[in-house]
Assembly symmetry: C2
DNA sequence: GCCCGCTTTTGACAGGGATCAAGGCATAAG
DNA sequence: CTTATGCCTTGATCCCTGTCAAAAGCGGGC
C-alpha cells in the first residue's frame, strides 16, 4: 500500500513550520518523528478507506490528496482536498470517516494512531494546533455546503476555479496546473463531467478563462469570475 | 438581542456532563462559569451573524439552533443544527463564519471569546473536549456533503427523517416533533419547500411515514426509509 | 366557536442539468 | 513520426426539480 522511504530528520522537513508540529520544540518534534515514518505514495493510491478502523494519521509533506465518501451504488462525493502541510486521518476516534487517495505522487509523515493520540495527550501545543486546523477545516467545509446545496453549475465552476487560483501557484504565463481530472472536479462540485466541461468551454468562449491542454487554466478575468461565483 | 437571566451555578446545570466543560473539576468549572453568563433566546432570534467579528462563544443549555450561510442574492443554506450541550461560536478565530439563529426558545451559557480562549489555553482538558467535538462535527458535516452533492430529493428527505428520528425522542405514540419548518428543512437539504412537501406526501401515501399536523411525523417503516435513504 | 394569516400542499409548466452516445484531441508508448 | 488509449468535448434528448400560482388547512387570537 505504501512504501517507506529513507527516514529523514525534521531539520530538513519542508513543512515543519506549517504542519501541526510547528509549535513543538526541537526535542519533542524529533520524538514525534520517531513515532512515525516517511512513506511515498503514487498518484491513485489509497491510504485509508471509508469506514475502516482508524489505525493511522499523517502529515502531508508533499503532493495533493482527496478525501471522499460514496453512496452504496457508487456515486462519489469528494469532501476535501488536502495539500502539503495538511493533516489527514481521524485522531481520537475509532473509524476513518472517509477514504483518502493520492491525486498526485505524494509523501507523508505517517503515525500509528494510538501512539499519536498518546503523544498529543501529553503535548498541549500539538492539540491546540490540531484544534485550530480542525476549526478551519470545519469552516471551509461548511462554506462548501453552500456551493453544493445552493449554487448553479456556472457558479460552482467559477467558485472552483477561484479556489484553485488561491491555493495553487500559477507559472510564468499565469497558467495553473489543476491537480484534478474533469471527473474529479465534478465529484467535488456535485455535478457531472459533461456539465463541468460545458461550463469550462463557455467560460473560455466568453474570454473569462483560457484552457491550456487538459490540466492547464489561466484566469484571464478574475473579476468576472468573482461575479459569476455567487450571482449566476 | 439576548436577555440575561438569573445566573445559576453549574451544580444544577442539565448539560454539565455532556458539554465541553464536563471534564473540568468543580473548581475550574465554576471559574469558567464566572467568565460567562446565562442568556435566554426566543425562537427566531439570531445570536451571531455570518462574517461578524467573533466576540462570543457559548454552550447550548436548552433548545435547538441553526447555523447558516447565504449567497449574495439571499439563497440560504443551513450548515448545521445544534442541540442542548452542543457548543457554538468560533473560538481562536477572528470571524464568525456563519450565522446562529434559535429555532426554538433556547438558553445559552455565553462567554466572551477572548476570556474563553484564555481559559481554554490554560486548561488542556477543555481543549481536548473541544477538539473531540470539532472532529465529530467535521465528520458529520462531510457526511452531509454526500447528501447535498449526490443524493436525489427522495433520498434527501428519507435521510433527513432518519436523522431526526435518531436525534429527537418520539412521544408515546411514536410521533417526533420536528423543530424545523418545511422551508428550513429545504434549506438543510439544498432543495425547495415544494419538493420537500411533495416527497413527504409521497412517503405518507406509500405508508412509510405518517404526518401529524405541521410538525409531527411518525416513522412507520424505518426499514423502508433506510432503503430509500441511499438507493433512491 | 369563528375568522384570519401564514404555512403547507397541490397543480401546471418550463428549464437546467443528467443521461446516453459519438467524435475529437492530448498524452504516452512504440 | 506514428499509433493507440483514455480523457475530454460536443450533441441530442429526457426528466427531475425549480418556479410560479392558487387552493387548502392548521393554529392562534378574538
Amino acid at each position: 500500500m505504501a512504501r517507506p522511504c529513507s527516514g529523514q530528520s525534521c531539520d530538513a522537513c519542508v513543512v515543519r513550520d506549517h504542519a501541526i508540529c510547528a509549535d513543538l520544540n526541537d526535542g519533542d518534534r524529533e520524538a514525534l518523528s520517531r513515532i512515525g515514518r516517511r512513506v511515498t505514495l503514487q498518484a491513485g493510491q489509497t491510504v485509508m478507506w471509508e469506514g475502516d478502523d482508524s489505525t493511522v494519521v499523517a502529515n502531508v509533506i508533499e503532493g495533493t490528496l482527496k478525501l471522499a465518501t460514496s453512496t452504496g451504488d457508487g456515486r462519489e462525493q469528494i469532501v476535501g482536498v488536502v495539500y502539503a502541510s495538511d493533516f489527514i486521518g481521524r485522531p481520537f476516534g475509532a473509524r476513518t470517516p472517509h477514504s483518502v487517495t493520492a491525486l498526485t505522487d505524494a509523501r507523508l509523515c505517517l503515525f500509528p494512531r494510538g501512539s499519536f493520540d498518546g503523544f498529543a495527550m501529553r503535548h498541549g501545543e500539538l492539540q491546540h494546533r490540531l484544534l485550530q486546523r480542525t476549526l478551519d477545516d470545519l469552516d471551509r467545509t461548511r462554506d462548501w455546503m453552500l456551493l453544493l446545496g445552493r449554487k448553479t453549475a456556472r457558479e460552482k465552476v467559477a467558485t472552483f476555479l477561484l479556489d484553485m487560483g488561491r491555493r495553487l501557484r500559477a507559472d510564468a504565463d499565469g497558467v495553473i496546473a489543476l491537480p484534478l481530472s474533469r471527473q474529479q472536479i465534478a465529484d467535488i462540485l456535485g455535478t457531472t463531467i459533461e456539465t463541468v466541461s460545458r461550463q469550462m468551454t463557455e467560460l473560455k468562449r466568453t474570454g473569462v478563462i483560457d484552457l491550456i491542454g487538459r490540466r492547464g487554466v489561466r484566469l484571464v478575468d478574475a473579476g468576472a469570475l468573482e461575479a459569476l461565483a455567487d450571482a449566476g
